[in-house]
């Protein structure tokens, strides 16, 4: 009898503990930046988050950082957090997030809304003292586009790290000539002749806006954080949103065009049915493998809009290093972030990872300009815009692109197109909540 009771008690205890285990999923990671370090004789604890592929590089650069400041003791931890998901993890618990983290440029609006980013301009004194640079120096050293994208209301909120995170055209030059790749019409015709396809993602607010940007439409942020968007009206170049949509529908309905689901581009390139594809530097290796000797890249083609040829726009993408506003050692975190994105570090990053630098000097070097993908990306950046939109923009824009991809609206039905544009704009403009 007694044994049974002991057993029952044990089981019940185990149950309670297992319940505890279930409930504990969100246990926050230890806040590394604890303790009250700061004066030079105390150890400064910092945590850095970067992509998985960047870990070795980060390790090397952090060691270099430590030797640059031999008077200061550091305890720097490097963690894995993809640039594409950094925002989600950081915003889940800002106070427990890393002191320095890498993120893609489209996340800067949300991160800034949550005031998770330290204002770099406020750190000017720290940078001048330790990095021997002012914020103005940093702004001058990096490309204008990257600095603009990393700034909000003219204030630098993160350090530009890599560029070339936008999209452009890869093509197989054994099928498509350089002249063919200049316009969508000739591009599709050439691909069709070879029995191949031209792929692009339409169901994504990041890709489908490129046609609108090319025609002079704009997006931006209002003071209340909502998206300002004019796709349903008339652009400054005098085109209407309906005309742009008709052009897109004409391209999408061409039988040599292949609408690719968002995130499926790499798979489709590997599939081998494509003669050309709109993608970014992350697919360079992939495209090189499939296209072989024909591997080529160029700016995006022009497209026919209202009888004229209009250069397709794009979204310029960058990757930044942000400093956590709630970092316990925000000054040293800023100095570290600056170090990881300075000229030498960007050169090392290009050597090891083939990532386009934002630093003007590194970008001008011979090795960088010889890189086919980076060169095409830079050529397209001339027509690229910096896309600052609220979170409400993405789903309506994605659905709009999918409607074009599936051809669920007709190019001749102008009223239906106008209605679809109005609904999308209304959704994108909705109050952020």
């Amino acid at each position: 009898m007694r044994l049974k009771k002991v057993l029952a008690l044990g089981l019940v205890g185990a149950m309670a503990i297992s319940m505890a285990a279930c409930g504990k999923t969100s246990s926050s990671t230890d806040n590394g930046g604890s303790g009250n370090a700061g004066t030079s004789n105390e150890t400064v604890s910092l945590r850095v988050w970067g992509g998985e592929e960047d870990q070795n590089l980060l390790k090397e650069l952090v060691e270099k950082f430590k030797t640059t400041y031999p008077d200061q003791k550091f305890n720097i931890e490097i963690g894995v957090e993809s640039e594409s998901t950094a925002k989600d993890t950081v915003l889940t618990d800002v106070e427990a997030a890393a002191d320095v983290f890498a993120f893609a440029s489209d996340q800067i609006v949300d991160l800034n809304n949550a005031k998770a980013l330290a204002n770099i301009e406020d750190m000017d004194a720290a940078l001048q003292n330790y990095a021997k640079k002012s914020v103005a120096d940093i702004k001058a050293a990096n490309g204008d586009g990257s600095v603009e994208a990393a700034s909000i209301d003219g204030k630098l909120m993160a350090f530009p790290m890599t560029g070339g995170n936008g999209y452009f055209l890869y093509y197989d030059s054994s099928v498509i000539s350089e002249e063919d790749a200049a316009t969508w019409d000739t591009l599709l015709a050439a691909a069709d002749k070879a029995g191949k396809k031209v792929g692009m993602t339409l169901a994504s607010g990041w890709y489908d806006a490129s046609f609108f940007y090319g025609a002079g439409f704009t997006t931006g942020l209002n003071d209340d954080g909502t998206t300002a968007i004019d796709f349903n009206g008339t652009s400054k170049d005098g085109y209407t949103g309906v005309q742009v949509t008709q052009s897109m529908l004409n391209i999408a309905s061409n039988k040599a065009f292949m609408a690719i689901a968002d995130g499926d581009i790499s798979n489709q390139i590997a599939g081998g049915t494509l003669a050309a594809v709109v993608s970014g530097t992350w697919d360079a290796e992939n495209a090189q493998k499939v296209f072989g000797n024909g591997y080529a890249a160029a700016k995006l083609p022009t497209y026919t809009l209202d009888g004229k040829q209009v250069q397709q726009g794009s979204v310029s993408g960058y990757k930044f290093l942000g400093v956590n506003a709630y970092s316990k050692n925000v000054g040293w975190a800023t100095v570290l972030a600056e170090f990881l994105t300075n000229e030498e570090s960007q050169a090392t990053r290009f050597e090891q990872r083939q990532l386009a630098p934002t630093n003007k000097k590194v970008a001008a070097s011979d090795e960088v300009s010889k890189n086919v993908a980076i060169a095409a990306s830079a050529a397209q950046d001339a027509y690229g815009v910096i896309q600052t939109v609220s979170a409400k923009y993405w789903d309506p824009a994605k659905t709009f692109g999918e409607m074009i991809a599936q051809g669920s609206i007709s190019a001749t039905d102008e009223k239906a197109i106008q209605d679809a544009l109005d609904t999308m704009v209304e959704g994108a403009k909705a109050a952020v909540e």
């Binding site: 009771k5 309670a16 505890a20 004066t39 330290a118 309506p396 659905t399 599936q406 909705a430």
Partner: protein
């Protein structure tokens, strides 16, 4: 079983009577108690100390002191701000000398909400201990007056090993449920009445109480551009439809499959059973993601259908307008596919349950039915199915509720593949194939819209709770057990 036959209204009546009795006892204790019992209202150890139960007195005193200290040191930081959820915004100034940010003493709305809630739970628990304590000291006083034996501490402890063993047993699980289930649920309920969203995210921003406005919005009374109400109705419809089909297709499928495998004419029943169980052995993550890729727009199945001309034929008869079969990417198609795929992964579980039940079928009944000339179909309809339903009824209900919240199947099959072309749904971040729970997940994960997610969560909870209560009551009512004896 006798207790279970009581109707719910009587059960609720008894519950309130119990609470009433508890407070009545407290009233008697206070009015009729001696000075020490009355003193134990202030010093909880007083009654015990008077009757020489010093260890108990010490424990109660320490407990009381601990709660008072907790209230002064911890609760006072948060509970007074509970009404506003904080008023001081975070501000920081960088100090170049220390290389650190100087922060003001800012309020964190979420911490205020969470810690206040914990304080309330502690206080409520303490309140009941306090009342019980007064009643106990009165009881001891009565015993002492009558000259009865008063337990020593050791004897009290021994009681928890014997007569009161159920209390000892239940303490840990109850604590576990309160900490890991009740507090999170209460927190979720509270968040539904605040404006905790992307614009009001702690620690940088504060959020505050907004009353019922989230629910008004959810049911269609929201702002001009909000299509939440529209999406909610559609998603709720599909959620219920899905739960119904997912539950019944796998249930019937499982029974039929196990009948088939258990049939005397089936060769190698163990082999077949094992083959089906293998589906369970592979984690759903793996199998569902694989299946998703098979049926993707450019997946293997589509390539195959194109090669054999099925795609072209479907396009000719006007069933599809795309150059691929939108198995998982168009409404209608995706809905049917999801239910079919769910049959494939759900049937083996039901088959195992059904096999167990079928092995225990009353053989004598079947035997006599057969002698009376019943056909196999009649036996199935009149004996097997009613018996199955009786035994597995409760699991059927829990399966239905589980399917309402079946996150895995829907999310893994459609995320990244399905893009809605319904703009009204897109404007509130929903898709035709979303269940309430996957919609809720995306709202919190991608849009930080915690307030709406909580409101939806409450609605899901109410739906599940009402359904379960009604269904269980219907099932348990009557003496159906006897019909199978």
């Amino acid at each position: 079983m006798a207790n279970n036959k009581k109707t719910p209204s009587k059960a609720i009546g008894r519950f309130f009577k119990g609470i009433g009795g508890f407070f009545a006892e407290f009233g008697t204790a206070v009015s009729k108690g001696d000075i020490f019992t009355k003193l134990s209202l202030i010093w909880m150890g007083a009654g015990y100390a008077r009757h020489k139960q010093f260890i108990k007195a010490a424990i109660m005193t320490v407990l009381e002191a601990a709660v008072i200290l907790f209230s002064i040191l911890f609760a006072s930081q948060y509970v007074p701000k509970f009404g506003t959820l904080g008023t001081v915004q975070a501000e920081m100034i960088f100090d170049p000398v220390t290389m650190k940010n100087i922060m003001n003493d800012y309020d964190n709305s979420f911490k205020i909400l969470l810690y206040s809630l914990i304080c309330f739970v502690v206080w409520i628990a303490f309140f009941f201990v306090w009342i019980k304590n007064t009643i106990n000291s009165y009881k001891i006083q009565v015993k002492a007056d009558k000259g009865e034996h008063i337990n020593t501490f050791i004897e009290d402890i021994r009681m928890y090993k014997d007569e009161k063993f159920h209390i000892t047993l239940l303490t840990l699980p109850v604590l576990g449920i309160v900490i890991f289930t009740v507090i999170p649920i209460l927190l979720l309920i509270l968040v539904a009445f605040t404006n905790y969203d992307q614009n009001h995210m702690p620690p940088s921003s504060l959020f505050s109480w907004v009353g019922l406005s989230n629910f008004v919005k959810l049911f269609g009374g929201g702002g001009m551009t909000s299509t939440f109400g529209y999406s909610f109705v559609r998603i709720l419809g599909w959620t219920l439809l899905w739960a119904f089909f997912a539950t019944f297709t796998t249930y019937i499928g499982g029974i039929l499959l196990s009948l088939l495998i258990n049939n005397k004419r089936t060769k190698l029943p163990k082999l077949w059973r094992t083959l089906f169980v293998v589906t369970i052995a592979v984690p759903q993550f793996v199998s569902l993601l694989l299946v998703r890729n098979f049926f993707a727009n450019g997946g293997i199945v589509n390539t195959f259908c194109k090669a054999i001309g099925l795609t072209g034929w479907l396009r000719d008869i006007g069933l599809i307008s795309t150059s691929y079969i939108p198995f998982l990417s168009a409404p209608g198609w995706a809905h049917v596919m999801i239910i079919l795929i769910n049959i494939w992964i759900g049937v083996p579980y039901q088959m195992l349950i059904a096999t167990g039940v079928l092995m225990n079928l009353p053989a004598d009944q079947i035997e006599s039915a057969r002698i009376d000339g019943a056909r196999p179909r009649q036996i199935f309809a009149k004996i097997t199915m009613p018996y199955m339903l009786f035994i597995t009824g409760p699991t059927l209900i829990t399966d239905f509720v589980k399917n309402i919240n079946n996150f895995n199947v829907i999310y893994l099959l459609t995320e990244g593949v399905y893009t809605t072309t319904n703009q009204a749904l897109a404007n509130s971040q929903a898709k035709e194939v979303d269940l309430l729970v996957t919609w809720l997940f995306r709202l919190t994960q991608d849009y930080y819209n915690y307030k709406m997610a909580s409101a939806i969560g409450i609605v899901v909870f109410i739906i599940c709770a009402v359904f379960t209560l009604v269904a269980f009551n219907k099932m348990i009512k009557g003496d159906r057990e006897e019909t199978f004896q």
